[in-house]
């Protein structure tokens, strides 16, 4: 497998050097940026395979970079990195088109794994993110969470629910495939379909849900 070309966006030098140390032996690091404008310019110039994107930055944060780039360079994939697991952040960047969301305390090998999976076109859901999504979609089942039921709010299939639950329980895709007796590719397609539903679903309801819960 070819090495992915990775671009790193984070406004903290300390974090950048830490991530650099963890991944530089396994990927081609093609550039770094510490602010939104420079990041947009350099990403459009170098067209990396995967952008590791900090969610919290001055001048609009990772969301601004995502929105500016995804229209002009649709092949660039984004993996969001954040110190926080706050529901607002997660929902925001995933809806804007990030292919995955991991927290910065992720261990080195797991981060590399996530980069490679995004590079392969897969979606990376952290256990916490899987929990959020289950929570958000439990609206339609009469669960105790969000307000009202939106007919536009697409529901998850039982299989997708199962997969998300296993992710939330800490299983990796290979183990999930084994548990459910399906192929890893099928697991990945379930997760991609969940991501699509998340991106299509009613924005208002999701933000409502997120701000109500104030999950941190």
């Amino acid at each position: 497998m070819s090495r992915p070309r990775v671009f790193l966006v984070d406004d903290h030098e300390l974090i950048r050097s830490g991530i650099r140390a963890e991944i530089s032996s396994q990927v081609d690091l093609v550039g770094e940026a510490d602010e939104v404008d420079a990041a947009i310019e350099l990403i459009l110039e170098r067209l990396p395979d995967v952008v590791l994107l900090d969610v919290h930055m001055p001048d609009g944060g990772g969301l601004a970079v995502l929105c500016a780039v995804s229209g002009r360079a649709p092949d660039v994939r984004f993996l969001a990195l954040s110190v926080s697991d706050a529901a607002d952040d997660v929902i925001g960047v995933v809806r804007a088109g990030a292919r995955g969301y991991v927290t910065k305390n992720i261990l080195g090998p797991d981060l590399l794994d996530a980069i490679y999976r995004v590079y392969d076109g897969d979606v990376v859901f952290s256990p916490r993110l899987a929990g959020f999504v289950l929570d958000a979609f439990s609206a339609g089942t009469g669960g105790p969470t969000p307000t009202g039921v939106d007919p536009d709010f697409e529901q998850l299939t039982p299989r997708e629910r199962q997969v998300l639950r296993l992710i939330a329980r800490g299983y990796i895709y290979r183990d999930i495939a084994q548990q459910l007796d399906i192929s890893t590719k099928t697991v990945e397609s379930h997760v991609s379909s969940v991501l699509r539903k998340l991106q299509l679903s009613n924005r208002h309801q999701l933000t409502n849900w997120a701000s109500e819960r104030r999950l941190t």
Binding site: A86, G131, A168, R169
Partner: protein, 423 residues
């Protein structure tokens, strides 16, 4: 048939019977709104007509008061007047209340003869009617009147501080107003001297105000800027105190423990959790006792306790939440044991806990990817802990399944049906 609490609203062109005072959109007594419904016209139209006729020697005012006294409120079967006649005790009270009113009336009568003209009489009669209405109205209507009084500009703000405060403000103000009016009258009649005097005084005040306005505005602006500044300084002091108390201390500890990675991780995680709690939790919320906590709160407490006591990272995911009764507390108790078990024996740095509350069931999974064990041949100490988890769940109508493979890890599944939890 029970009457609805809200009277019907006017429908244009459709007269609705019977005539009742409105409870759905009354301004004062609900007379105009009620009349609008009865006639099928806009409320505003009736109100404008009433106000105009009130100017005409107070005719509108008197009719309004009469209607207030004689027309029952929507949903009530007797009018204010009928109530008054019915309740003898109240009638006495009114006679007592009328005495001072009559005195004032006579005193002002002199005034009326000299300058005020005929308009004074309707106002006084309306005052008498108001006293009667106050005593004759139903409990609900009294509540509404309280609201009206509270919304009025002069009475409102202070009636919330009690009637005594109102009296302290009201009596001197009225005395001063009367003195002022009397003085103006003495200057030489309303049109001869009073109006020019008032105009002159007003012009003087306005001129002075314009001259002094920049200075006054500046000082007001300074004041609010100063207040903002003070708030900001206080915020900064609070933040600095917190950073000093916890973050700096932790960093010092981390420096000292640099040779011990597990300890560093533990300190960093604990500090991270505390800071997060401080930053994101709403102002003033503190941790409750275990008894008052919800399912999710109990799990979060387990996360922080196990992390700080055993130096592992607990990956906690919660979907849904519910209040904790004794069954739920037993479930979280078993969760705690399972998590501690994994932290102590699995030999890995990460333990996953997943808790989900569904309409019919609550389930918790505690998982590690550590050494695992063979359920057939377990060491005695581990056996004991596993048994205690199972026994505890069974005692509360739940289930515990322990699944473990040597070299791959262990997963404990705890399940509790909510029907059992509710019974």
């Amino acid at each position: 048939m029970t009457s609805s609490p809200n009277s019907p609203l006017p429908i244009l062109g459709v007269p609705q019977r019977p005539l009742r005072r409105s409870t759905s959109s009354p301004l004062i007594g609900g007379v105009c709104a009620g009349l609008a419904t009865r006639l099928g016209v806009r409320e505003l139209t009736v109100r404008v007509v009433a106000s105009l006729t009130a100017l005409f020697f107070g005719v509108g005012l008197l009719i309004y008061m009469l209607a207030w006294l004689l027309v029952p409120r929507w949903g009530e079967d007797r009018s204010v007047a009928q109530r008054l006649v019915g309740a003898r005790r109240e009638t006495h009270l009114i006679l007592f209340a009328l005495l001072p009113v009559l005195l004032v009336l006579l005193a002002l009568g002199r005034f009326a003869r000299r300058g005020g003209g005929v308009a004074v009489w309707p106002v006084l009669l309306a005052g008498v009617a108001l006293v009667a209405i106050w005593f004759g109205s139903s409990r609900e209507e009294k509540g509404h009147l309280h609201e009206v009084v509270n919304a009025a500009p002069i009475l409102g703000s202070s009636s919330s501080h009690g009637w005594r405060a109102l009296a302290w403000r009201f009596v001197p103000a009225v005395v001063l107003l009367v003195i002022g009016l009397e003085t103006l009258r003495r200057i030489g009649g309303i049109w001869g001297g009073a109006v020019p005097a008032v105009l002159g005084a007003g012009a003087l005040a306005a001129g002075g105000a314009i001259l002094l306005a920049p200075w006054w505005l500046d000082s007001v602006r300074d004041l609010s800027r100063e207040r903002r500044e003070r708030v900001r300084v206080e915020e900064r002091a609070k933040l600095a105190a917190h950073v000093h108390d916890s973050v700096l201390q932790t960093l010092t500890l981390i420096e000292k423990a640099a040779h011990n990675p597990a300890e560093v991780t533990r300190l960093a995680r604990a500090q991270e959790r505390e800071l997060r709690q401080w930053l994101f939790s709403p102002e003033g919320t503190t941790r409750h006792d275990e008894a008052g906590e919800s399912f999710a709160e109990q799990l979060r407490r387990i996360e922080s306790d196990v992390e700080s006591d055993y130096g592992v990272i607990v990956e906690l995911v919660i979907v849904g939440d519910c209040p904790a009764d004794s069954h739920v507390t037993a479930l979280t108790g078993a969760t705690r044991e399972a998590a501690i078990n994994a932290a102590k024996w699995a030999g890995v740095a990460r333990v996953s806990i997943y808790g989900e509350v569904e309409p019919t069931a609550i389930s918790v999974y505690v998982r590690d990817t550590g050494v695992g064990f063979d359920p057939e041949r377990v060491a005695d100490d581990r056996h004991g802990i596993a048994q205690s988890i199972v026994a505890r769940m069974n005692a509360h109508g739940g289930d515990a399944t322990i699944h473990s493979v040597v070299g791959e890890g262990t997963e404990v599944h705890l399940a509790l049906s909510r029907a059992a939890a509710a019974s």
